[in-house]
Structures are given as structure tokens and as C-alpha cells.
Amino acid sequence: MSEPLDEQLKKRISEVFDHYEEDASSAGDGWQQLRHKFPEQKQEKSTFAWWWRIAAAVLLLCVMSLWWINRGTNEQQKKIAKQHKLVKPDDNISNQITNITKNTQPSIAKSNNHAPVISKNDDVKIYPKSKDSLLDYPKIAQLKPVYAQTPSLQKNDLQQSIDIMTQSDTVILPQKETALAQVGRASALTDSISTKKGNKPATIEQLFADEKNSPVVTNNKPVVTPNKRVVYSLYAATFFNYAKGSNSQLNAGAGFTSDIKLFSNFKLSTGVSIARNSLNYDGQPVQANVLSAAISAANAGNGAVMAAPLNGPAFAATNLPAPTTVSGYGINLTGLDIPVNIKYEFNPQKTDTYIAAGLSSGTFINETFKYRYNPTSYALNIPPQSVPDASTSTGFSRFDFARTLNLSIGMGYQLNNKGNRLIIEPFLKYPLGGLGSQQIQFGAGGLNLKLKFSGK
């Protein structure tokens, strides 16, 4: 008895729900709800992926730059060290003297220890540390100017010494000279250095110690940037706003920044700027909140237009809802931007070349939305009527914290001898989230012209 009832019920349920229908507006509402999740979800996914790619690229760039800079600095240090090596007692000259004495004193030459060896001249200590020999004489010839620039040495003495050495090289090379002759040359070399008694250093060590202590005269330009803790800049920006679906718009802004020194090459850069951002879209807003604001604006602005057909006989007959479609909209945002960036200066003592990255927070002083509408037919038998444009304005609606990623590079040029500099700074602002009352996602890319008040 129960079986037929079960079958009957099963059949009825299938029948009813296989052909289940809801009114058309429900499907439309459902679709609008789905749109909150469906395209945005996909976009967020790709935005997230892009964000990671950009972050990885920036990181890679920073690491490579640091490596390159360190490499350059190390090479420079090596060059300087090489130059200074010549004026130390355990370098080439000593070695060369040692090599000469080696030939005259086989017992000393055979010993491999690095203990100082006292030459025949008691004033000269010889440190047989390096394996360099006079065969390297081109190095010595190359280093002649270093001696020439050394103020504590008598140019003639050194020149004479080097000349002797280089001359001796040409003789030594064939290794045919007698040991006596080599000793003679060695004595001549040591004598030439040690003959200056009295006010002059008595030993080579003293000589080079004096050289080390003497002020180094360099031809380098004076330091460009004074080592100030905080440096202020004023800047003007021109940039393009970009957003998905929007035409690019040229805009401008201005502001000031203060760079606070953190470490030798790192600075914290912050400040405030005011800028105008504008976006212009064609077609229906994709964002549901913007669409709903557009429809509300149309309804608020066109009550009379809407009311007539809704109450009229034609609408009553057809019983259709009044659809309003947006043909496009423009957004003008005047905002305050507070960036907090970390700046890496490649060589703060000499140049103003840097890269910077950080986040921006801010609010909008004014947000104006201007909506344009398609002509609308309020009923099937009524011709389409134009819908006037509508606009809404608001200000300080919310504070968007850390919603924009800032990336920039800067290059500086000296303007005058007071230390003020002009910085050219291309930049990119990448949106990490929506901004303003309608949570619009947009970015900007352009150029900052900065006047940096370094001061002396």
C-alpha cells in the first residue's frame, strides 16, 4: 500500500523540480551575486601571483645590485691595497733586495722561513715573504708615479733606487752576473735609501711608516652629499593612472619627503603628497557596488523621468521593470598619499642613485563619480528616453592603510655648489587593494622631479 504512494511522491517531486522555474528577476539577482565572487576571485588570484612575481624581481634586482656594488668596491680596495703594498717593508722592493741577496748568500736563500733577514747593511731589514722576483720589473716601472707622489720621500732618491733596480733586472735576467756584482747592486740600492740620515728616516720601515702617516693627497672631488641625518625634498609628479577597463589618464601631484638615515646605505623615506587621480571607464561597472551606486544616482537624479512611465497606463499594461544601464563613468579622486619607503642608496657619498620600495597609505579629500547612462525604455511600447548624467561626491570617506606598493629608482644631479640636487625619479604605484569609498583598484606610473635640499 505504501509502495504506490512512494512511487507517486517520487514521480511528483521529479516532475516538479525538473521543471522548476523562478521569475526572471531572481536569476538576474542571482547572477549579480555570483559576479561578486566569480570574476573578482579569478582576478585576485592572478593579482596575487603578479604581486609575488614583482616582489621576487625586485628582490633579485636588489641582491644583484648589492653584489655588483660590493664587487666594484672590493676591486677598488684591491687596487688601492696593491698601490700601498709598494710602500710597505715586506713588499716588492724588499723582495727584490732579498732575491739579490739570495744569490750572494746561498745559505739564506735556501732557508724558506719568513723571519726577517738582516742584510749586510744593518739599517735594512728584509722580509722575504713574497715569491716575487725582479722578473716582475714591469710592476715596479708601473708604480714609479706612486713614489713620485709621496711627499715624505725624496723623488730623486726613489727614482734612483728604482732605476738601479730596473737596471739590475736587465742584468739579472740572464743569471750570468757574478754574485759580487749583485751584492754591489744590492748595497747600492740600500745605500741609496739609507743615505739620508739626520731628519730623514733611518730605515726602510721608518720611511714607509712616515709615508703611511703622511696625508694622502687625492684628486677625488669633495664628497657630494653631506652626512646629514635627515634630508628633505620637494617634488612634483606627473603620472598616468591605470586600472583594468579604464582609459589611461594623465595626472599630476606634488609633495615633500624626508629621508631619515637608518644605516650606511639605507634610508627611511616618508612624507606626504597631494595628487589628482582620474579614471574613465566605458560600459557597465564591473564592480557591483559601483553599479549599484550608479543606479542609485540615476534614480536620485531622475525621479521625475522614472515616475511618469511607472505610474502610466503603458507600464501598468506591460508590467515591466524599468532597467537603467550605465554607458560609462568617470572617477576623479583628489587624495593625500603617505608613503613609507625603504631606500637603498648605491653610493651615498658620491651619487644619488638609489632604488626604493615601500607601501602607501592615504585618504581622498574628494571623490567624484560621474555616471553616463544609455537611453532607457521604461516599457515595451514607449520609445527609449535619454537619462541625464548623474554624479556623486564624497570626501574623507575612509583611510586606506598600506593599499599601494611603491617602487622607484632615482638619479641625482648637482644643481649648485650649495649641495642642492635635482633627482629624477621614475616610479610605479601598484594597487594591492581597493581605494576610497567604492574600493576602486588603480595604480599609477610616472616621473617625480625632486629638489633635494642637502645643504652644506
Binding site: S2, L5, D6, Q8, L9, K10, R12, I13, S14, V16, F17, D18, H19, Y20, E21, E22, A24, S26, A27, G28, G30, W31, Q33, L34, K37, F38, P39, Q41
Partner: protein, 184 residues
């Protein structure tokens, strides 16, 4: 080719495979009613059903490339809606308190005989069932799943599924009989 596949439907699906938002909207609106019909049977209320349907359609749009055009789109959609609804309520189903509901609170005046039951009446009847019984009844009796399949889906022994189904049917019979008597 499946007989229920019209050329318009095929074209719609092809465009959806290309990611056309406009055609996705058309597909959504065309099958919204059917999906809601399925979603409502597995959901606690209309809002819940709408969320199930939307989540199911997102899955449809994201995986439509894998849809075989020889199959019935309705059947594929139905399966996705059912799975989405069950996933959504899996926790509820697992820890369902099997409280006995003796009578429907209000069946409506049209449910005098089975043939006259409307969707609303059926949903009201379904609401009187514990979620686990309602789900198993729908899966087995309406959507044609076997007890073994239901057991896998709900992580239950198939013997338990049989018991729950039997209880659900008994309760529905009781409701129909009571309502029939009250309208005589």
C-alpha cells in the same frame, strides 16, 4: 550526442569554454531555475540554496573545459549542485541530531493529494525531515544514486543509508496521510 542538447545550448557551452562572460550569464540564467530546484531540495532555505547554486556555477565555469558535449549538461550541472550542497552541509549532516519530527507545522492547503503538491509544499514537507534523511531521500529517490554511492558521498555505511531512507519515507507517508485526512 545527447538528445536534449540543442544546438543553441551547445553554442552557449562553446562560448563559455572560451570564457565569454556574456554567454556565461546566459547559461546561468537559462539553467538557474533547474539548479535552484535541485539546490532547494538539499538546502535549509532559499538563501542557502542560492549560495549553493552560485558556488556550483562557479565550479561549472571554471571546469567547463572538461565537460564532454556528448553528455547532458543538466545532469552534469545537477551533479555539481548536489556535491556542492553536500560539501557545504557535510558537517551538519555528520553531526545531525536525529530528532523526531512528528508532524509538519503547516503543509499548506493545496497538498491534499500527491499530484497536487507544489514545489513549495514539497519543500515544506522536506523541511520536516532531519537533514540526513532529507539528503538521502533526495539522493536515492530523486537523483538516482545507489546506497553504495551515497555511503561514499556521506561517509556512511550503506546499511545506515538504507535505514535513514526508510525512516524518511515512513515520515513522508505519515505526513501525506495526515494531510490527506485533514483535507477530506
Amino acid at each position: 550526442m545527447h538528445p536534449t542538447h540543442s544546438s543553441a545550448e551547445q553554442e552557449l557551452i562553446q562560448h563559455c569554454k572560451k570564457g565569454s562572460l556574456k554567454h556565461q550569464e546566459l547559461l546561468y540564467k537559462q539553467f538557474y531555475g533547474y539548479a535552484m530546484g535541485t539546490g532547494l531540495r538539499y538546502s535549509i532555505n532559499r538563501d542557502d540554496a542560492l549560495e549553493v547554486v552560485n558556488d556550483a556555477f562557479i565550479k561549472v565555469f571554471n571546469t567547463i573545459d572538461s565537460f564532454n558535449a556528448d553528455r547532458s549538461f543538466k545532469a552534469w550541472l545537477s551533479k555539481i549542485v548536489i556535491n556542492t550542497a553536500i560539501d557545504r552541509r557535510r558537517k551538519d549532516l555528520k553531526y545531525q541530531l536525529h530528532t523526531d519530527v512528528e508532524y509538519a507545522e503547516n503543509m499548506g492547503h493545496h497538498a491534499t493529494v500527491v499530484e497536487q503538491l507544489s514545489a513549495r509544499d514539497i519543500l515544506k514537507m522536506m523541511e520536516t525531515l532531519p537533514a540526513i534523511q532529507r539528503t538521502i531521500f533526495n539522493l536515492y529517490e530523486i537523483d538516482g544514486y545507489s546506497h553504495d554511492e551515497i555511503g561514499v558521498m556521506l561517509n556512511l555505511p550503506s546499511s545506515s543509508c538504507r535505514v535513514y531512507l526508510s525512516r524518511a519515507k515512513e515520515r513522508l507517508r505519515k505526513l501525506l496521510t495526515t494531510e490527506g485526512q485533514s483535507h477530506e
